[in-house]
Symmetry: C2
Subunit: 427 residues, 2 copies
């Protein structure tokens, strides 16, 4: 058996329910890993070690048949938690103590999980970089905005964490950190109790080290039936989607995806070149307009009462957003509706679409969390997106393959991603 | 000049900016009205009289050109407020003090308004009746869930208040209380900082005593251009929409609408009998499914940690909702998407649709907040809906006429409603 902190969620749950591992031992192992690595990675915004050990002991004294009994989960610090401070990545909320748990945090607890701690979020889950470093190379960003959640899972501090995606804040950090990231269909999981960034786009996301783990947590939060990953026999046809912003991807990332597609074809899977219609070219810009307008209005209290506590980068972004018109915003909303109408027909006959999860490897330094252009159109299209770490770039850093299905076909996206992750050579 | 508390919002702003009325005098007048009537009406959950007078004095010492300078607004107690307790209509939140204002509360303050106090909401803005009474006849319900906001405006305690509509919680209480109620297009106004009931349906609503007043506040919150109500010359053609649940309306309400339509025709307005396609018959049930599923998941923390503090009525509702399947939920979501695609084409050629705002007069007693069946399909269709008090029932209580336009045609709905309210005989 691996040391406990290295176990997958499903492995940990199995050995715990089989009496071969105590919840306390799992929690202690994760705490030890944090103790060792946190000074380098900076994944955690809040972590109360003794409280978590007490909670684990309580779990051990009262074993249950709950599906997530004893599972250790990290929660991005833009989710409200009734027993932990919740900072939303901003000094404005240094003293914030929410009255209640976000809906999904409460769901996790209801099903037996231990909320381990709060992971670092960028400021208001927006673009300014956080302190978190990429476990694969600490000179590089882990991506954002779910920086701490992606890094904590990648570094074996926890098997599962939650993040949020508005533009590309789950799939991109999953890509950079070499973990599995899943952004379910918009609306599949409640966003209650998550600090609103852009209501038309905000989506709960899940990080894990396997698709099987991520599917388990997804199923609990969404109330859907099991996706039957094990029985799935692999895709017949995939749409290799280079657009709409393929030219913004690095050449090594492009090559890695092309090569991966050849390997798929060698396995007998049909991989068609797939072009989105020209109308989809506007979607990234439309997503940005929706994001900026909704963010601008959602943060009125912070802008008005605490402007000086907002970072200069975000201050500028708010000022630019203030110039957007309602006409631009509603045109963008309509583009999203139209794209969502068209997409299922375009993907008919394919098991899923595949593309890059990010434009390339994690950028060096800490001046950016990277480019979300490979993600934001899909955020607006409300599709399920899974990132699996099967590609790599010129520096040997991970790059994710993004698997996409039409809205509400989450089970299909998970099946395809799981099969590819298990059956294709990993990077 | 009317006594200050009876002034419309536009009148009050005009006399304040003209130096003919101080903000302090307006606030004092509203407080006096509350002092006199609150023991009968029970519209307020929280009201700090001395703090509001101090705030009014500060406004008077520092006159601004802000568009809402000195306007007094009541806020439903499911909106977060940084300086007032926020109870969400539930004893679970007796000690809740939010860290920030809801986005629209902050927007109102930014534009110079005074947040007067928090109005009574039903439990979690859901169906259990509140303590508030109908100013037109205190033996009757004011409707819900925005009970206090509707009653406070009807009773001249404040000129403007905010509520929320998920199924029918703005248009129905506006109808029962004889005031103007406006539910803008879904998504036009930020819901940040409002306690989530059902994310796919929750909408900010505005109560006032004229459409002009409501339009002013709407314009500030939505950033839209003025609707040009004064220049509007009246509708040419209206769709008299009896469906999809016309048979659930009381006969006196049906007759009142028929008679009103005749009066419109007598003024030369074309009023066509308009039938929604059969597919729209399912929308009320679909709305209820979406509401129940999203409510069930949003209130997981309350259900798990504080079930005993939830009313028996809502406990049962949660238990019923727990049996809904994801398939039923997503079928309902798809029905809404399809209805929203079809509606604009169906209404082409009409200035607006008209129907009843409620099934009849406010029910007597306090065992129900009334039936939302005339509202919930439009909530799912994301349309702007305006209720104007131009009808009445057999007991002489008000009944609203509901004016509806396609999503994002809010200006048209407001223009038609304003014209009808000003040009047709009031009840």
């Amino acid at each position: 058996m691996n040391v406990p902190n290295q176990l997958s969620a499903n492995e940990a749950l199995e050995v715990i329910s089989g009496g071969k591992l105590s919840v306390s031992a799992l929690v202690q192992s994760c705490l030890d890993r944090v103790e060792e690595r946190e000074p380098t990675i900076h994944a955690w915004q809040y972590l109360d070690k003794s409280a978590r050990l007490l909670e684990a002991q309580a779990c051990d004294s009262n074993p249950t048949k709950k599906i997530l009994h004893g599972l250790v989960v990290g929660i991005k610090d833009n989710y409200d938690t009734h027993n932990m401070p919740t900072r939303y990545g901003s000094p404005i909320y240094d003293k914030n103590r929410p009255a209640a748990d976000a809906a999904v945090v409460a769901q996790l607890r209801e099903h037996g999980a231990i909320i381990f701690g709060k992971t670092v979020s960028t400021e208001f889950a927006s673009s300014p970089p956080s302190v978190t470093r990429n476990p694969h190379n600490t000179g590089h960003t882990p991506g954002g905005s779910s920086s701490g959640s992606a890094a904590a899972v990648a570094d074996n501090m926890v098997p599962i964490s939650l993040g949020t995606q508005t533009l590309g804040s789950v799939i991109r950090p999953a890509s950079y950190c070499g973990v599995v990231g899943f952004k379910p269909s918009y609306g599949r999981i409640s966003c209650e109790g998550i600090k609103t960034l852009a209501e038309s786009l905000d989506t709960v996301g899940i990080f894990g080290r396997s698709v099987t783990d991520v599917e388990l947590v997804y199923r609990v939060l969404s109330k859907t039936a099991p996706a039957e990953l094990d029985g799935y026999e692999g895709p017949v046809a995939l749409a290799l989607c280079r657009g709409p912003d393929w030219d913004k991807a690095d050449s090594d990332a492009q090559s890695a995806l092309e090569k991966f597609s050849e390997q798929l074809r060698a396995k007998g899977i049909r991989v068609d070149d797939f072009r989105l219609p020209d109308s989809f070219k506007d979607l990234a810009a439309a997503t940005r307009i929706i994001h900026d307008m909704e963010m601008w209005r959602a943060f009125t209290d912070e802008r008005v009462r605490n402007f000086g506590l907002i970072s200069p980068e975000l201050q500028i972004r708010f000022e630019n957003a203030s110039r957007l018109t309602v006409e631009e915003y509603e045109d963008a909303i309509e583009k999203g509706i139209k794209g969502r109408q068209e997409l299922p027909g375009l993907l008919r006959g394919y098991d899923a679409a595949i593309t890059l999860s990010a434009t390339g490897e994690a950028p060096a330094g800490n001046t950016t969390t990277g480019n979300w252009i490979m993600n934001s159109p899909w955020s607006l299209l409300y599709t399920p997106c899974v990132s699996i770490p099967v590609l790599q770039g010129r520096l040997g850093l991970p790059i994710g393959l993004q698997v996409i299905a039409p809205r509400f076909d989450d089970a299909k996206a998970l099946c395809v991603a799981s099969w590819l992750h298990r059956n294709m050579n990993k990077r």
